[in-house]
Amino acid sequence: MSPRLTREERSLEPERYELDEGPAYRFDLGRREFLGVLGAGLLVTASAAEALAQQRRRPGGRGDDGGTIADRVHIGADGAITVLTGKVEVGQGSRTQISMAAAEELRVPLASVRLVMADSSLSPDDGGTYGSRTTPATIPRVRRACAAARELLAETAARQWRVDRAAVSVREGKVVEDGTDRVATFAELVGRHFADGLQREVQTGVTVTSVSEWRILGTSRGRVNGSEIVTGRHRYPSDMRRPGTLHGVVLRPPSFGATLAAIDLAAARSIDGVVAVRDGDFAGFAAPTSWLARKAREAVSGTARWNETSHPDGDALYEHLKEHSREGGSRFGRRGGRPRERGSVDEAIKSAARVLRATYHIAYVQHAPMETRAALAEWDAGSVTVWTGTQNPSRVRDQVAEAFRISEERVRVIVPDTGGGFGGKHTGEVAIEAARLAREAGKPVAVQWTREEEFTWAYFRPAGVIELAGGLDGAGKLMAWEQTNYNSGASALATSYDVPNSRSRYRSSDAPLRQGAYRALASTANVFARECFMDELAATAGVDPLDFRLRHLGDARLRAVLEAAAERFRWSERVRATRGSGRRGVGLGCGTEKGSYAAACAEVEVSPETGRYRVVEVCQAFECGAIQNPDNLRAQVEGCIVQGLGGALSEEIRFRDGRIRNASFSSYRVPRFRNVPAIDTVLVDRPDLPSVGGGETPIVAVAPAVGNALFAAAGVRIRSLPLRGEGFRSA
């Protein structure tokens, strides 16, 4: 079942960028009849939430406010509070933030809330965890449901006490009659009336706590399950085990798109304890230890015959993307399609005093979350449960159901808090692999991809070519703007600046690698190219880069972060201090995406002798409405800055002949401690504005700030991500 999005969400989520591809595996499903396979039996923890969820009128839940209070909130006979969401925790802090929202509205301490996340048989469908939607879409739903539950508690107490509802309030985890000492705990109120009331629809108009009255939201709270994590007790998807669990490995093709023509599994099957299965292009092995499973794979891999196909040359990537491009293409985001034009760009270019054109290149990069794809699968009487790390559990459920040709009701997907996502875990191939092996073995099977498998068989942030043209009038005012993106995506493609004549175009292409979502996706590429090109235009006009931007920037929120970053960084002073040094330079960049605003200033130091440069400092201002958890937001912004530096300085997937050439952390360089510059973060709080997400957009302004600083330091314009070339590279 695909998430049901409101019209507002559709417009705010232009680029979910789901992979549009066939199933990972087309199983024949072998000799044994599916219903004859007996699993080890699923032990279901009998929780109050579960019992309640099973009674829900609409199993599967709904993403909109049409749901009942019971879809979201349960209060047990012991007063224990359980809140439910379909969202997942992948490191962005959603578990804590949603718990805070619930505690706020229920007027209870944060520690009283138990949050059940992403269990397809319990949770309401909140859509996938992407597009920075948790804060603007899910948190309000949780707040409304919890506010409705609070109202129901007050109403229940008023009824029991035979007093007016207005005389009753809920505070500090109790229900009280104002002006008296009459008090009831939640547990004392959880009777028939309350249970019936939970079946009410949550009204969209229910009153939630205003920002000025927040006691929990708006304050910095550490992770609610932090002590589980620092002690190693938290069980990530790769840590899940069931009694009798086998460990599985898969035989991978030698190159992308290769199909398995033949394999002889006899040598693997002769090893005691090994289960080996070949089904179509899938060949997998399960054993009591992964060591033994690998031995079994080694024993037969030489007998495999693969049919390989030809592949575009990775060294000619950008030529390939451009040559194979076509207008728009719905696969690549809802804003793809026809060019968007304001005024007449062609006329304005003709009449411009100065015209600049430039082409920027964006490399493929990978998310490389610390936890590789992992799943544990267990069958029981024709139904399967998978514990897996994914940002899109309902999609994984669909994929598993499709692979095994069973109804989605027979697939339960549970997502334990997961070791990183960054947009990279939207698919269910490892869940299918574990389930296929578990079906064959008749036992639970755990599969965790190796790092090399993750680098090779997961997907990538799309590479791209971005062409720009700009026209200035005699006074240095920007009159014409054109930006065309080939392949990397359409988000943040339209310029944020006030230009009377502008056109943006997106052209999809024949992508040589499997590509999909990524933190902020194409906005990083489009903002990088735009902000570097703005610098080129500013230099042509002979205007300071900050002034040039401000002259063309009417968007008050974007102006505010740009000015905040420049002020904190002491932009003008540092321009003067570094200008002409030949070694040091400062640069800036800004952008908006998903309703939030980022601006960054950077200082770079370059060695003219070696061409090696390093980033000395990044100062970033960020605004996403009313801040709900300042420390967590700061951590997200800082994480984005450093992850953004990875893509800016060193990260690049290399490939040839359908193989990845740098599928390891030693050859694909992600940021380490040594690469972290001085970081200064300014959080701009806007309690007057609705809260939106902050886990993605802070990545967009980092690369252009560094690229522009490098230009200021060395006088060389590098038009690629990563910022390498013309003899320059990061130290």
């Binding site: 994590i229 979350p369 936890e371 808090d417 990183g420 800082e638 401690f673």
Partner: protein, 156 residues
């Protein structure tokens, strides 16, 4: 083969194939899943354990090398319910996002502070550079190590 070593303060005998990695034996045979697989090549140090006090990638350590050694994993760092100073500092500094690198980070930091109770930032960076945090939460992790160091110094 049979290997006898001390695991989190207790003697342990393991019977298994000698080439298997310590990481795999911990996670698959001994139920200690706090030690994480990150790359299998010693590049990311998510699998760090302390062997005779020295931070070591358990993914590259064959089980046969452990005879007579003392192994400490994240599960053995706290003293009962009393968290180790570095664990407390990670919580206080908010030094975790997804948290998957955290067991390895904490053990690397604990070993660093044993060697050098008052490291400056360069020494922390040098001591921890092998550990990758892909959430890139390095600022808070650095702060956590500084905080643990100050606490340790203050309690001396």
């Amino acid at each position: 083969m049979t290997v006898e070593f001390t695991l989190n303060g207790r003697p342990r005998t393991v019977r298994t194939e000698e080439e298997r990695s310590l990481l795999e034996v911990l996670r698959e045979d001994l139920g200690l899943t706090g030690t994480k697989y990150g790359c299998g090549e010693g590049d990311c140090r998510a699998c760090t354990v302390l062997i005779d006090g020295k931070p070591t990638p358990s993914c590259l350590t064959a089980i046969k090398e452990l005879d007579g050694k003392k192994v400490l994993t994240i599960e053995g760092l706290a003293d009962g319910e009393q968290l180790h100073a570095v664990q407390r500092a990670f919580l206080e500094a908010g030094a975790l996002q997804c948290g998957y690198c955290v067991p390895g980070m904490i053990l690397a930091a604990a070993a660093l502070l044993e060697r050098d109770p008052a490291p400056d930032d360069d020494a922390i960076v040098a001591g921890m550079n092998g550990n990758i945090c892909r959430c890139c939460g390095y600022v808070n992790i650095l702060e956590a190590v500084r905080l643990a160091s100050r606490r340790k110094e203050a309690s001396r």
